[in-house]
C-alpha cells in the first residue's frame, strides 16, 4: 500500500526478492505491456505522463535486477525488514498461463488473514487449534456436527495422538474442515499441522526400521 515513489525495484516489477533471473525477465515483460501507452488495462486510469513515469521506473528496476552483481549490491541496501519489502497480501506471481497452466496451480496462502488472527506465530498444533475452538465458544460436538467428522478423531487431532489417526490424506481433510469451522483459513492451517504430523510419522517409521534390524 506504499505510494509508487516509495516502492523498491521488486515492488515495481511486482516480483519477490527471491525471484530467479527468469522470473525477473517475465515480470519485466509483463510490466512493460501493462504500462505501455496504449495498454488496454491502463489507458483509462493513467493520467498524462503516468505510464511514461512508471516505465522509467520499470526500466531502472530491470537494469538493476537483471544484472547479478548490481542486484546483489542493491539487495544489500534494502532494509532487512521482510514485512516491509513484500507486497501486502499475496505473493504476486505474474506468470503467464497458457492453456492448462491456469487454475491448477495451488492457491497462495492469504498470509494476512492468517497472522492477524493470532499474535503468536508458529505452527498450528493441536493445542492452538483447541485454543481457537474455545475462543469461538464451540464444543468438539459442534464441530463434529458441522463437519460430519467423528468427534473422537477431532479429539485426537487436538491431542496430537497421531498414531491413532487414520491416513494422512484423511487427517489433512479433517484439519482443513476443523480450521474452516473455527474461522481459520483451512488450507494454510492444514499445511502447518501436517508438517508436524508428517515429521512425527517419519520419525516413527525410522524408529521401527532400526528396531527391526
Amino acid at each position: 500500500m506504499k505510494p509508487l515513489s516509495e516502492q523498491n525495484h521488486y515492488e515495481i516489477l511486482e516480483t519477490q526478492p527471491t525471484a530467479t533471473r527468469e522470473e525477473i525477465e517475465r515480470a519485466y515483460r509483463m510490466a512493460l505491456s501493462t504500462y505501455s501507452d496504449d495498454s488496454l488495462a491502463g489507458y483509462s486510469v493513467f493520467a498524462e505522463g503516468d505510464a511514461a513515469a512508471l516505465r522509467e521506473r520499470i526500466e531502472m528496476a530491470y537494469r538493476v535486477l537483471s544484472d547479478g552483481r548490481i542486484r546483489s549490491e542493491y539487495d544489500a541496501t534494502l532494509e532487512v525488514d521482510p514485512q516491509e519489502s513484500l507486497p501486502p497480501a499475496e505473493p504476486s506471481a505474474p506468470l503467464i498461463p497458457v492453456g492448462s497452466a491456469f487454475g491448477d496451480s495451488p492457491l497462495p496462502l492469504p498470509a494476512d488473514e492468517f497472522t492477524h488472527l493470532d499474535d503468536d506465530a508458529g505452527d498450528f498444533d493441536g493445542e492452538r487449534l483447541r485454543h481457537f475452538r474455545i475462543r469461538g465458544g464451540m464444543e468438539i460436538e459442534d464441530i463434529a456436527r458441522v463437519t460430519k467428522i467423528n468427534p473422537t478423531y477431532l479429539r485426537f487431532i487436538e491431542e496430537e495422538r497421531f498414531a491413532d489417526l487414520p491416513n494422512s490424506v484423511y487427517v489433512r481433510g479433517f484439519v482443513t474442515a476443523y480450521a474452516n469451522c473455527v474461522g481459520l483459513e483451512g488450507k494454510g492451517v492444514a499445511a502447518s499441522y501436517m508438517r508436524r504430523f508428517d515429521k512425527r510419522e517419519k520419525e516413527f517409521r525410522k524408529g521401527r526400521f532400526f528396531e527391526s534390524r
Binding site: 500500500m1 488496454l40 469461538g136 456436527r145 458441522v146
Partner: protein, 327 residues
C-alpha cells in the same frame, strides 16, 4: 463483544439441522453484454454437477435473462414478487431447473414503474439471500453501478467482476471497482467528516483533486490517523475477483494480470484473477439452445475453463466440503 462472538459461533455452528450458511457470490461487471449471466449460469451448473446445491438468483430486474441461460422458459414467480411485497419468503420463489441440484430465482415480470426495491427492502432481500437453503448462492447483478447494484455487490468480500477484453468493458470494470470500494469505505469511516471527504472523492472531478483511493488514503491519514487505519483495513479486506470472458489471444489472457497490477499500483486494491473463459462458438450455441454450456457441451473448451474457475472457488473453502469423508 461477547454478543458478537456468540453470533459468530452461532453462524459457524450452522442452522438447527447442522447446515452451514450458503456461500453468497455476487457477480457484477459494470457493463452489460459481457457475459455475466452466461458465467453465472455455467459456474452454478458446474458446481451443481459436482453435487453442491446451488441457487442462481437473477438480480437484474430490468433486463432479466438468467432464466433463459439455465433453461427455465416462463418463470411463474420471480424476484419481482418479493420487490412488490406479494411474497415475503424468498425461499418460496425458488424454481427448479432442468439441471439437478441447480435452482433459480428469476427476475422476470418486474413492475416497469418501480423496478428496484427501496433501500429497506434491499436490506431485507440481502438478509433473505443469506438464509437460502443451499451450498452456493450466485447473485447475477444487472449492468451499471446503481446504488442497489453496489449494495448487492458488497454482500460479501467474494464479489466477482466479469470483464470482456475490450476498452468499453475494462473502463466500466474500473468504474465498478471504484464505486464498490468507495461505498464500502464510506460505511467503514466512523466520523462524519471523513465520510464527507469520501463522498467528495467519489465525485471524479472533485475540488481537492483526489483521483484514486491511494490519494484519498494519504489525505485521510494526514487528517485522522485512526480513520487511516480503518481505511487500510477496508482496503485489505476488499478483494474483488476478476474473470475475463471471451478471450481470444494470449494478450487477452494477460489482461487479467495487467488489471490486477493497475488496481494494485494505482488504487492500492488487491484484485484476484480468478480465471478466464476463452471464446468458443459452442457458447453461442448453448445460449441459443437456452441451456448452460456445461450441460450441452461439457467437453467444449469454454466449459472446461469454467469448471476450472468453479474448482478454484471451491478451493477457497466450500460448505460441507468434507461430507463424503465423514466416518
Amino acid at each position: 463483544m461477547s454478543d458478537r462472538l456468540n453470533r459468530l459461533a452461532e453462524k459457524l455452528r450452522g442452522g438447527p439441522d447442522g447446515s452451514r450458511p450458503a456461500r453468497l457470490i455476487p457477480v457484477g461487471g459494470g457493463k452489460g453484454g459481457v457475459g455475466k449471466s452466461f458465467i453465472v449460469a455455467n459456474l452454478a451448473a458446474s458446481l451443481a454437477r459436482m453435487g453442491y446445491r446451488v441457487v442462481a438468483v437473477d438480480g437484474d430486474l430490468e433486463g432479466a435473462n438468467l432464466h433463459t441461460c439455465v433453461g427455465v422458459v416462463r418463470p411463474r414467480v420471480s424476484l419481482a414478487d418479493f420487490v412488490a411485497k406479494r411474497e415475503e419468503d424468498l425461499g418460496k420463489l425458488i424454481l427448479d431447473t432442468p439441471i439437478p441440484n441447480l435452482r433459480l430465482i428469476a427476475a422476470t415480470d418486474g413492475n416497469l414503474a418501480v423496478p428496484q426495491p427501496n433501500p429497506s427492502r434491499r436490506v431485507r432481500l440481502m438478509r433473505e439471500l443469506r438464509e437460502l437453503d443451499a451450498d452456493f448462492v450466485f447473485f447475477d447483478l444487472g449492468a451499471g453501478t446503481h446504488a442497489a447494484v453496489m449494495d448487492y455487490f458488497m454482500i460479501g468480500d467474494e464479489g466477482v467482476i466479469v470483464i470482456a477484453p475490450e476498452p468499453t468493458s475494462v473502463e466500466n470494470a474500473y468504474g465498478f471497482v471504484r464505486a464498490a470500494f468507495y461505498r464500502r469505505l464510506r460505511l467503514a469511516m466512523a466520523s462524519h467528516d471523513m465520510r464527507k471527504i469520501v463522498t467528495l472523492a467519489m465525485d471524479q472531478r472533485n475540488e481537492r483533486g483526489i483521483r484514486t483511493p491511494l490519494e484519498l488514503l494519504r489525505e485521510i491519514q494526514a487528517l485522522d490517523p485512526d480513520e487511516g487505519m480503518r481505511f487500510v483495513e477496508t482496503m485489505r479486506a476488499f478483494r474483488p475477483r476478476l474473470i475475463i470472458n471471451d478471450v481470444r489471444t494470449a494478450d487477452d489472457i494477460k489482461l487479467g494480470f495487467s488489471i490486477q497490477s493497475v488496481c494494485r499500483k494505482f488504487f492500492g486494491i488487491e484484485a484476484e484473477y480468478l480465471g478466464y473463459v476463452n471464446h468458443d462458438e459452442s457458447a453461442r450455441h448453448s445460449v441459443r439452445a437456452r441451456r448452460p454450456l456445461i450441460d450441452v457441451y461439457p467437453r467444449s473448451d469454454a466449459a472446461i475453463y469454467i469448471s476450472r474457475i468453479a474448482r478454484k472457488l471451491l478451493a477457497d473453502g466450500a460448505p460441507g466440503e468434507y461430507r463424503e469423508d465423514s466416518i
